[in-house]
């Protein structure tokens, strides 16, 4: 199965090569999501993509282009005023069955969540409940999805998970406010790993952190991915970072996926002008200055329309 469907995004030949022999784990087809506000916002338009077992798929794009919305759509987390106009999401379970995610209801949906697809949120810093301990929050996941686990087993697993992400298991009884931002992020990742999901969606999990900490966490994610072979959808607007960690990158703009390709192709021969514009926004640290400053060449007016939303993230 290929990622490119419909009139879809640009991609290169290397991309097609790359896809050879990969086994899909999550297929989304023709997803359109609207926000029922006045006037309606078409946040995601006919987006299709396929995620393969064990791969890291980067999702890039400027603020407000619909990345988070798409991710929520994949995991059926849309809330009012969002509505799913169209689209199919299929999860290809490791045991060979296919799950129609859009058709899932109540208990089935809850059972699916986190067990198959887990998520680390954009505001991961605030994703922990401030009034109950880390241990309780980890246990919550296990008591819900693995009711047969004993308390001791849960404790053991919790400690193991924290150790896995490099947090001292002694921190199990801490509350969110007692942990640093990086630690909270790691706890969230540990929680996402708790049930050994096959897919992990990470929505800007590191934007609020400083580069050094961010680096550490990225490393952790990469390492865990190698260990557990889950697939990752990694969302960020930081293209350079995506380039470093992803196998493939999808670039979104105004709700559409405009280009999807391997990281290398995106860097070396991006086809869509928007992708190229995004790349120039990040001048190379060690390389040339590009269109940047002090050269006299000024595109300072920038995209004049701008976007209303300057996102804090």
């Amino acid at each position: 199965m290929t990622a490119t469907t419909t009139a879809g995004p640009l991609s290169s030949a290397t991309h097609a090569d790359y896809l050879e022999g990969l086994e899909p784990v999550l297929t989304a087809h023709d997803i359109s999501i609207d926000y029922e506000v006045d006037p309606p916002v078409h946040a995601v338009r006919h987006a299709s993509l396929t995620l393969h077992r064990g791969e890291i798929l980067g999702l890039a794009g400027e603020s407000g282009c619909g990345k988070t919305t798409l991710a929520y759509g994949l995991n059926r987390l849309l809330k009012p005023p969002a509505i799913l106009r169209s689209g199919e999401v299929t999860f290809h379970d490791a045991d060979g069955t296919d799950v129609d995610v859009v058709a899932l209801r109540d208990d089935a949906l809850r059972a699916f969540r986190w067990d198959k697809v887990s998520m680390v949120f954009q505001g991961a810093m605030n994703s922990l409940n401030p009034v109950i301990s880390v241990r309780k929050q980890l246990h919550d996941v296990m008591t819900t999805h693995r009711p047969q686990m004993t308390r001791a087993a849960r404790d053991e697993r919790s400690a193991e998970l924290l150790a896995l992400v490099g947090v001292d298991p002694a921190r199990l009884d801490s509350f969110a406010h007692e942990l640093s931002g990086g630690m909270r992020q790691r706890v969230m990742i540990a929680m996402a790993l708790a049930l050994n999901p096959q897919v992990m969606i990470m929505d800007e999990p590191t934007t609020a952190l400083d580069v050094v900490v961010q680096r550490g966490i990225l490393r952790e994610i990469m390492r865990l991915r190698e260990q557990f072979r889950f697939a990752v959808v990694f969302i960020t607007h930081d293209l350079p970072m995506l380039l470093e960690i992803s196998d493939r990158i999808a670039v979104m703009r105004a709700g559409e996926i405009v280009e999807i390709d391997t990281a290398e192709s995106i860097y070396t021969r991006a086809q869509h002008p928007y992708t190229r514009e995004l790349l120039t926004a990040f001048p190379s640290l060690t390389g040339e200055r590009g269109s940047f400053v002090r050269t006299g060449r000024s595109d300072e007016t920038g995209p004049s329309a701008g976007t209303e939303k300057g996102d804090a993230s």
Binding site: L77, A111, F112, F121, P130, D140, V141, H145
Partner: protein, 330 residues
Amino acid sequence: MKFYLRRIGFYAVTLWAAISLNFFIPRLLPGDPFTIIMAKLQRAGDISPQVENTIRLMLGAAEDKSIWEQYADYWANLFQGNLGVSVTQFPTPVTELIGDALPWTLGLVGTATVISFVLGIGLGALAGWKRGSWVDGLIPSTTMLQSLPYFWVALIFIFVFSVTLRWFPIIGGYDVFGFNGPEWTWAFVGSVIYHAFLPALTIVISSVGGWLLGMRNMMVSTLSEDYITTAEAKGLRPRRVFTTYAARNAAMPSLAGFGVSLGFVVAGSLVMEQVFTYPGIGKLMITAVRNNDYALMQGTFLVITLAVLAALFLMDVIYGFIDPRTRHHG
């Protein structure tokens, strides 16, 4: 620790301020208690010179002490647990009167406030959870309840339920026609509950709206927090999300406000106790005010302030338990 020290400092200063206010207000304002009491007695009819003399003695002719000396004496007396003697209830010490009245107020107002709080928080949480639903649509109408004058509601209740329908008693904290004072029997307890019903209902009706609205709004805000989305993404059961994740966080500010609100409720119940002839602090205070019984007035005011402070303190402690963030504030 510093947090608690600060709080304790706050309590100490507040207490000092309340007590001092208590001392100075009667002294700074005009009016000679002797004349006033005489006038009152005279209204009732013949008054003998003996009685007159008695009153003079009773009030303790204002000795020629400076106000600061009096202030010092006042504190000394306070520390001995001596709040003076009531003039209207002569010669009962104020402490005794308060001691008799306090359990009634605490019982009634306490229970009613807790009921109102729990009800308000519960319904508010539900309304916030199912927002846009009919429960939520009900919210604006509850503000109507909040705007009703307590005593007006109470009087109408009495008229309707006690006088016209005769379902409930008209006065008292228990059946004053059947019991010769409090006793420890089931019948008595039953009577107390029966008599507390309407007053409690009044309090609940007039105060539940505030909790409800506050909780509902907090709930709406809380539900957009990331940890709620996370909880849902984790596949937790809605009940769990509702209780442990949403409601519990949303209730925090209400809890913090609970102590202060308790103060308002105590105050509101002053009038209510008067209407129901309920043997509590509020009525005692009004009796004191009506009769210019300064010692009693000061005593009740002090107790009400203390009660509010105690409630606040309790809330501080409870809050510390419920909200880990304050606990570790150091």
